[in-house]
Subunit: 335 residues, 2 copies
């Protein structure tokens, strides 16, 4: 049985061109003791992938040239020499962008397709949801009545962040691109307001929709919007730095926040985090998020594209914003 | 009796020119109930003064045009209608840049000239010392064995910060301008090392003197050095933002830290603070700092210039770095 794999072909400069990766058929290695073979069903596309391709020290080692492109995914166990997994189990783990994967199961978990649609384990009940959960609650520490501003509000992380903010009794204001996304954020997800950065003046929008200032700015985008947000923070504000999608494909140096001295004036803090720090608490996040989803307090949607051959146009959607909900690529039929 | 006062004449753009202020003789108003009249002996010159002159919202209101220039100082009570102060007391408070001041005494404290030289109440036992104390201990939260990097290490705040870091069992590495200051920082104050940013490569110096990375970067300067420090922080690092003296006289926008995404990668935080947040704990800081000074664990020196007419050349020294120790201007003879 041959395995179609997406390998990193060369390191990108700026926005990755299609030939940064190559598709290749390779033999599946023989299963060893304590390993399992799984068929990949859905993979998760996330902005963080862009960072994993740079040859720099980071919170995880970079993907190497000729290595399978890293990603999380949901798969079905075909064969198992591992005591914790059996044939037919649905599992979540770092599958990589390929049709089949062989793994020792470290960090993998079993997921239940009868409880939730499988792609949701890549979004709200997966890394993006956990990122929102720990980033807002642990780093942001929201208090009832506070105002939480969230960029990338229609995205996989931002959408959950705002809904948790609402659950915690905060005012949630989103920033997203385009009227459709803003309407989704307010009317479907229940944010108090959403600023359309493509068609509105963000400075004016923040002034209008955060009349009491910003207590938490949950930043997914960096760049100009971070700088504007910094001008409206309250004393003691928290800025969880979750990402900086506006800067990931830069060919020039990252734009640092010129208004960072607002942190000094307001005794505020800007704090980075990665979800992997909270590995030991994933169970807690899964339980709480699962409960909120069941209670209808957290809604979500996935944008599902199909076929490994559509990797590149799907990847591009991460950065063009031309997607609705958590971006997922279906690799094989679920049944 | 006439009072010579330094008034704000106009708002500066970039580095303040001499005519930003003017000296003027004015009548001393008659003393009211619960007021005191004091003769100013020493005033404190601090980089923060530059910020107070900008017409922007900050942690204190800006000094207004035609108002006495704001500053802290030590004075001697000449006359008192206030129950807490009597003639002959030495007092610390926001005297303003002038020969005499009339005040309701709010926020003023009595200081003892027999315990310490009076100028020290403007440095180690005053706002700069308190700033170091709370900025390092509360914001930085040093743990034994950690590495603390301090810019402006020969300055009023930085010099105390590094000595407290040593008291707490940390490795203290300074950054200062010129061999004389660096030698003072290491040989007199007991830092483990000091990088001369005027004559050495700071990146290389940090690499050499912080071989285990940076756990706390106590930032007084901002700009390029902040950006370099960000490339060497450890996981969970803290960056108390105390000041940004390199940026205060900018005529162009402040240089934001391009490497701020190092906060994300390292789950680190950058946190601003102002000493006034800790007003309710000044007593604690004064007690601890006083004890450390008495034990010889904290050393300090003051750079004292003389005469209100020398205000401008003295002020300039804040930013040229042409000073040794806490910058103080003597306004009147102490005895």
């Amino acid at each position: 049985m041959n395995n179609r794999q997406l390998l990193l072909n060369k390191r990108p400069v700026g926005f990755p061109s299609e030939d940064v990766w190559r598709l290749e058929y390779n033999e599946i290695p023989e299963l060893q003791e304590n390993e399992l073979l799984a068929q990949v069903l859905y993979i998760s596309l996330d902005p963080a992938m862009r960072g994993w391709m740079n040859d720099v020290k980071s919170y995880v080692p970079p993907v190497q040239i000729d290595e399978v492109m890293r990603c999380g995914g949901v798969a079905r166990v075909l064969e198992s020499n591992h005591p914790d997994f059996k044939t037919g189990d649905h599992v979540y783990g770092m599958t990589g962008v390929q049709e089949y994967c062989v793994t020792d199961g470290k960090g993998w978990v079993i997921v239940d397709p009868d409880l939730l649609p499988l792609p949701r384990y890549l979004g709200t009940l997966g890394m993006p949801g956990f990122t929102a959960y720990f980033g807002l609650l642990d780093v942001g520490q929201p208090k009832e009545g506070e105002t939480v501003l969230i960029s990338g509000a229609a995205g996989a992380v931002g959408s959950v962040t705002g809904q948790i903010a609402k659950i915690k009794g905060c005012r949630a204001v989103g920033i997203a691109g385009g009227p459709e996304k803003c309407s989704y954020v307010v009317n479907e997800l229940g944010f108090d307001a959403c600023i359309d950065y493509k068609n509105e003046n963000v400075r004016q929008g923040i002034k209008e929709h955060c009349p009491n200032g910003i207590d938490i700015y949950f930043d997914n985008v960096g760049g100009e919007i971070l700088d504007i947000a910094l001008t409206r923070i309250n004393k003691g504000a928290r800025i969880p730095i979750c990402g900086a999608i506006s800067q990931y494909n830069n060919e020039v140096p990252v734009k640092g926040p010129s208004n960072y001295l607002s942190l000094l004036i307001n005794s505020a803090r800007m704090e980075g985090f990665v979800v992997f720090n909270y590995r030991h608490r994933y169970g807690e996040a899964a339980k709480m998020l699962g409960q909120w989803v069941a209670e209808g307090k957290i809604k979500s949607r996935e944008h599902i594209e199909t076929g490994l051959e559509n990797w590149y146009p799907t990847f591009k959607k991460l950065f063009t914003g031309d997607k609705r909900g958590k971006l997922v690529l279906q690799i094989a039929d679920q049944n």
